[in-house]
Symmetry: C3
Subunit: 300 residues, 3 copies
């Protein structure tokens, strides 16, 4: 496959730019307050799938225009909640529906590169759960209103956020946010630990995230990052099995060009130049049970 | 079944009042420092089982009199620890014992309504583990002494708190509290995240909790709450399976009257009036494996 | 087996002293900045295995000399990462390698006594992951530089830290630390909850940890501690099964001499004198599935 030209892939709701090894994905529906509609989901799923497999890319920053009314003001409710259902899937029965927010969350979560959310505006519902939680690192504007309105709308938290949020910040804070339908700012004690960096001005958020992205793109190993992410999220639930697993991971990496370069650069007191690619991990990853999320149609 | 009249159910250790859709359960043994004895367990198990199934109830606040010497001063140790064993169960052998604190914790945990602990006094042992941890949200008096004395009494943390506390605030803080047998106040860094709101005066705790309870009773969907609680606590341990699960949950709710009302109220910029009942979820919940906690007697 | 004389066991990289029921393990390679080499791993694995089974010991404090250049400056990279591979295991193929940091982490983790890390200097890589995370409680010097450099060296976090760190402080903070290859001090918000106590001066760390150790050695039950640790780390992932498990644990402890003494001392308002030993738990522990971490050689 030839390398994608992200400026020419027909995205209608996002802009995508490569800045060296950093990809910047910008929500581009300011007039619609960056509401989440099917076309946004389609674009994000497509781009994160490509970025996952594009060897040029080491870090992805996801953001919006800081002058937009919101980072993402949630699902478009103008048609009611039932409009989120896919009429085609409905024909196949109650098990066939797949939440589009969850599909986006999965696409981000499964991206093996470093993912950073630069939340430079207000975010509601899916704008928090689907766009922020699956990222590795989150930056936020201190004034951002972050809303978890589900139970106040007659709906449940989507985008696998009932899995992600308790893991990220613990069940006590997650439950407080979900059950009260809270709207909070990033410095709320209820969000403690969720944001890596909180900045006072909207326009500071993306540059700060980009600066970290460039540093990480220059100094981290693509293979080491991918293995680290997988060890944390796809490991075992007891220490012995994790020991067996990470022993294998460390051996594979220890014999890699990146580890050799890492040790050499360390001894020479210089920045490393990592060149290894994710393909090296192919015979080994995924080691975990891949659950197929696609509905299997029962007839033609 | 006719609706229970909570003032007439023969409770001897608690008072129970309905205030609209808010049920208030008050520990009523101030003279005994609200120690935890079998009659308290029996009353709490009974009332939370009823509140779970009483469609009128949307939120439960559990509290004590703020003038009592303690919110709950722990298990009554006057007979020693062995007195907590049930002689009848002992006849059936070492597997038959069921911790009464755990039975209470399960009754609260399994209540599908919003549960709020209003901790307006000191709490020891089971007064923390059994009465607070299973609730969705916790309020506390800043001066409350909260004790985890188990290892200093020759016993282990009970009431499934070795499951709940690490999930709620992480293994590091939980282990520090359990292993040091600590007594701390709610603002201790070791408890960070456990309390939703901490108030300076004892008499402020219950009114603050009640105000949130009334707000949530007026603005949240009973079905959305029940599904949210279950997604968080009864979900899967990988993101793909959770995505399949919450897709189903969201579809079921999206087609419900509460979601319709939620979207309509949102568009009309008014508070929603939710009317759906938990019975709607019956064909679908529980989706998880229900582990039977009852001991099976091996002979007559 | 006769009781070990820790001063006479041939340790070359650590000093071990018994101070009543407190064992102090001190890293003793100040000239080498307490780097982690195979001999350190061997000594630590040996001593924690002994301390686990030595009935005299109730608490273990692990520290370094506060005048050393570092608490532990990480793995010795002078030979490159591939040097960490054991040539003997390599003959048996890619599954045979076992990470030596993980072996140490397991030895500490599996020690049934209270374990306290007194981190009185800088710590890098394995000096954080392998030596600190498996302990029950951590003390640190406020000025300690704590580095998670893995992805900047082309390697993944070792010593089962991809299991331990997310459990200890949540996935959000853990991922931020791992993915950015951060160097932070103990008061960093990214580490919130990891350290029980942070002290301004290097020389204050060990005495403070020792004071807690002596208090716990005098006031806690060895059996209650061992059961508490196991309930937290070896419990079930649903509340019902944990209730059945802790019911059994509480019954066994309730009938123990330590629980009797604990209740008696409480009533008499005096400090307890616990005398029970871990052997009592032998018929019952471990209740969990013990995963064998040893590689099985396929031929002679």
């Amino acid at each position: 496959m030839s390398l994608p030209d992200y400026s020419n892939l027909g995205f209608t709701t996002i802009r995508v730019e490569l800045d060296g090894a950093v990809a910047v994905v910008t929500l581009d529906r300011a007039k619609e307050r960056n509401t989440f509609v099917q076309a946004v989901a389609d674009d994000l799923i497509k781009v994160f799938d490509l970025l996952d497999r594009d060897d040029r890319v080491r870090v992805v920053v996801q953001t919006a225009d800081h002058t937009a009314p919101a980072f993402c003001s949630g699902a478009d409710l103008s048609g009611g909640w039932e409009r989120i259902l896919d009429s085609d899937a409905e024909k196949d029965g109650e098990h066939a529906h797949r939440d589009s927010g969850g599909k986006v969350a999965l696409a981000i979560f499964r991206c093996r590169k470093i993912t950073i959310a630069a939340v430079n505006g207000h975010a509601v519902g899916i704008g928090v759960t689907g766009l922020q939680l699956p990222c590795d690192i989150r930056f936020a504007w201190a004034g951002a209103k972050l809303a978890f309105p589900f139970v106040r709308r007659g709906i449940a938290p989507e985008a696998a956020s009932s899995y992600l949020l308790p893991k990220l910040i613990g069940h006590s804070r997650a439950m407080s946010l979900f059950i009260t339908g809270a709207t909070v700012t990033p410095d709320s004690p209820l969000l403690s630990g969720l944001y890596h960096t909180i900045l006072p001005k909207r326009e500071e958020v993306f540059p700060a995230a980009l600066a970290l992205a460039k540093d990480l793109a220059a100094t981290t190993s693509q293979t080491a990052v991918a293995v680290t992410k997988a060890l944390v999220w796809r490991g075992y639930d007891n220490i012995e099995e994790q020991h067996i697993l990470d022993s294998r991971a460390i051996r594979i990496l220890a014999l890699s060009p990146d580890a050799e370069e890492g040790a050499r650069a360390f001894k020479q007191r210089r920045a490393p130049k990592f060149a290894d690619k994710l393909g090296r991990l192919a015979p080994w990853m995924p080691w975990w049970r891949e659950v197929n999320v696609n509905h299997r149609r029962s007839k033609l």
